[in-house]
Symmetry: C2
Subunit: 156 residues, 2 copies
């Protein structure tokens, strides 16, 4: 059997979770996506200690998920805010899948607190597995198999 | 501004992450989904301490994601193995979204180590946002908005 570290280095789920699996990280991405971009606003919403939030924001910038920008409110000193990079935008399916699962399996009695919609039409969207012709496939027909990368076949 | 705990209780992402966000949890779900169902096999693959794995398996059973079953190998004492419940099966989009994101944004040079395929045809699948008519919508056209549950509107 391969060494655990080798299994997990080749597993893209494990690699994604190296940073995204840390406490608060995905909630920070969620908040920035909702337009809450300033340190003090994120901190107030999450109730997270400032040093922990500083650490998580730094790791997300390093991972290429967030970009730090400077803004200056009238008469105040320059401060940082955070925006999603294109790679950060592409975390939408991660957030949406956690949101859909929680809405279904851990209901609160309230309506969903976030909705994914088509920008122009406002139509409600959901996540689905689709084939190469963009046809959705029911979850019961989806299986996961080990890819060739698991045994060390190069990409390409 | 609402209290942080209230924001996060109403957020299905935060609720999902209460257990799924703990270190190792999603990797355990990944392994069980790949057919690695026995405590000793999961432990060997992940390289996780036995007491930590016991804790995570217990939480996943409590959350309704895994079910514990007893098996007995020839001449050995009864042992536990773990299988996915229907709610656990429905975590496939969470795992697939982390996998797709990692394959794209944190490449290793190896081919993908897991592939999602249609059971019967073996055709490769990927995750997409689809509208109510099952038409895929490009990620650039997807926006997230706060749902009515965020301000306390009951479900239904």
């Amino acid at each position: 059997m391969k060494q655990p570290t080798e299994v997990n280095q080749r597993c893209s789920i494990a690699r994604s979770l190296t940073v995204l699996g840390e406490k608060w990280t995905l909630l920070v991405v969620r908040d920035v996506r909702l337009g809450i971009t300033r340190f003090s606003d994120i901190r107030a919403r999450l109730g997270v200690a400032p040093d922990v939030l500083t650490d998580r924001l730094g790791k997300l910038v390093e991972l290429g998920v967030l970009e730090r920008r400077t803004y200056r409110a009238d008469g105040a000193r320059a401060r940082d805010e955070y925006v999603l990079t294109p790679a950060g935008d592409e975390l939408a399916p991660v957030l949406a899948s956690l949101s859909e699962w929680g809405d279904k399996h851990l209901p609160t009695g309230y309506a969903p607190s976030t909705r994914y919609v088509e920008a122009e039409s406002g139509r409600l969207l959901h996540l689905a597995f689709v084939d190469e012709d963009d046809h959705p496939v029911p979850l019961d027909d989806v299986v996961v198999e080990r890819g060739s990368g698991a045994i060390g076949v190069p990409a390409g």
